[in-house]
């Protein structure tokens, strides 16, 4: 696989989306607290896997701000793949191929969407990974007859599609193509899920025009999995009559703009201490929440740990 990532013809659509949503945001004074948040993060996770995944993204980005393209390229390498592609959607609608590690890989993504069949669309529909170790097998031929044949003609045997999503917030599908048949090793599978998490935050940030440093993305990608963050996203979606994806995006933008952790922002939204420029016509009262553990205090103590 080539190291460089080739942006395909559709790259303009990402650029346009960014321009449309570009909210200029200055790096806040509170920026200095960032390294602390990163330390909290490293405390919680599988150091080896995360370090490996983020280290690989860092290597591909060559010290620059990590992009979707860097993460897709790093994932393809980690999975010993012929290449990988990313298709994106606005709020769970039609998927559109936006980038791939090479043009022939992008053609495979395009082929799936032209035919209206394939693992990527299925992964998006069921919002779960679709793993096909052998496109030449009977099951794949029955499930996606035209795509299996077309990909086979291009020398592809294994296809592995991972939703880039969190619950109802669906931003796209990461698809990895391999020339050799065979299942992914468990380590590779878990790496791919970690790459999909990274892509999720990079995609949200891309829509906001936030250009993040890697440590920032790491922290956000990890906290993006916590219950409070998703409760807050749902609450904000109802308050402002926006999609859960857009709600997560606003939480993330607020965290970035204020220098607070995503978790802290979420806890404040749920406690009714923080309102993110929405109408407060209904449910303006904070939800009653008997909480002997005081999440705010927890957060502080974690950062002191």
């Amino acid at each position: 696989m080539e190291l460089g990532t080739t942006w395909r013809g559709r790259e303009e659509s990402v650029g346009d989306a960014r321009a449309m949503n570009n909210i200029s945001m200055l790096r806040p004074l509170g920026w200095a607290i960032r390294p602390m948040a990163v330390r909290v993060w490293t405390d919680w996770v599988d150091h080896d896997r995360s370090a490996r995944v983020w280290g690989a993204i860092r290597a591909v980005s060559n010290g620059g701000a990590p992009s979707l393209a860097h993460a897709v390229a790093a994932c393809a390498q980690a999975l010993s793949a012929a290449g990988a592609g990313l298709a994106m959607t606005r709020d769970g609608g039609l998927l559109e191929p936006v980038l791939a590690t090479a043009s022939e890989i992008g053609e495979l993504d395009e082929l799936q969407f032209e035919l209206g069949e394939g693992p990527s669309g299925d992964a998006a529909a069921i919002n779960a990974p679709v793993l096909e170790p052998d496109l030449a097998g009977l099951a794949a031929g029955r499930r996606w007859p035209a795509f299996a044949a077309g990909a086979g003609d291009r020398g592809i045997r294994g296809v592995f599609a991972f939703p880039v999503s969190a619950g109802a917030a669906k931003v796209g599908v990461l698809t990895v193509y391999r020339r050799e048949p065979g299942s992914l090793q468990v380590e590779q599978l878990e790496d791919a899920l970690t790459y999909a998490d990274a892509l999720f935050v990079l995609a949200l940030d891309g829509r906001q025009g936030i250009s993040t440093d890697l440590d920032e993305v790491i922290e956000a990608a990890f906290t993006a999995r916590r219950a409070e963050v998703h409760q807050a996203a749902g609450r904000l979606a109802s308050q402002q009559r926006i999609s859960v994806t857009d709600a997560l995006l606003r939480l993330r933008a607020h965290a970035y703009g204020s220098g607070l952790s995503l978790y802290k922002v979420a806890v404040d939204v749920m406690a009714g201490r923080l309102h993110l420029d929405g109408d407060l016509a209904t449910g303006g009262h904070p939800p009653h929440r008997p909480d002997p553990t005081d999440p705010e205090q927890d957060e502080k103590e974690q950062e002191e740990d």
Partner: protein, 242 residues
Amino acid sequence: MSASDRRVREVFIELSDTLVDDFDVIEFLDRLAAHCSELLGVSACGILLADHHGALNLVAASTEQARLVELTQLQTRQGPCFEAFTTGHPVQHADLRNARARWPRFAAAAVGGGYLSVQALPMRLRDTVLGAVNLFSATTGELDADTITLGQALADAATIGIVHQRALARQEVVTEQLQNALNSRILIEQAKGFLSHSLDIDVDEAFALMRSYARANNRRLTDVADDIVQARLTLTRAPDRA
């Protein structure tokens, strides 16, 4: 043993009946947490699963109080569930008032929540530990051997439910199913937050409301949650019996 054999049999039949195609994993684990409390004679039960980052996530809790105590454990990375998960062995503490040296934050939160003893059981699948089941009691003392055996059987039922493969599931299938359970939980949290605003209720009432709606209308909990966050379904505060 705190439950009649007949009741135990009924529960296992009910749980295996739930394991049909297209079953809802969060609904299953939620029922299982409630059954654990009932059959084992404990005050509360929480179920935690590991994600691909190696971090534990709370996927079901029989009571709000247990949920809060479990969250303390997740935030501090210390407590019986963490130990059961990392060692793969059961962990017991008969009097949490004496556990402050071992798990300072967890012991304080548990005692503050009214729990004096705890038992954590690993959720094992062959040589992998997927997560752990935590049993909380309002009284001190160890659970007897029969109760622990039954508790481990329920923990194993939870594992089977998540993996959703009766026979030898390949590890990649396990990872896939685990991912499905964790992602379903995220969707439920989003819907809880959504309802907390639209109905001006707390997140636990929101969960109870979704659960009773799903049961009354014979729908999957995650489908109900999805409809709520997409604004396709509006619930009212009183449980909908339509």
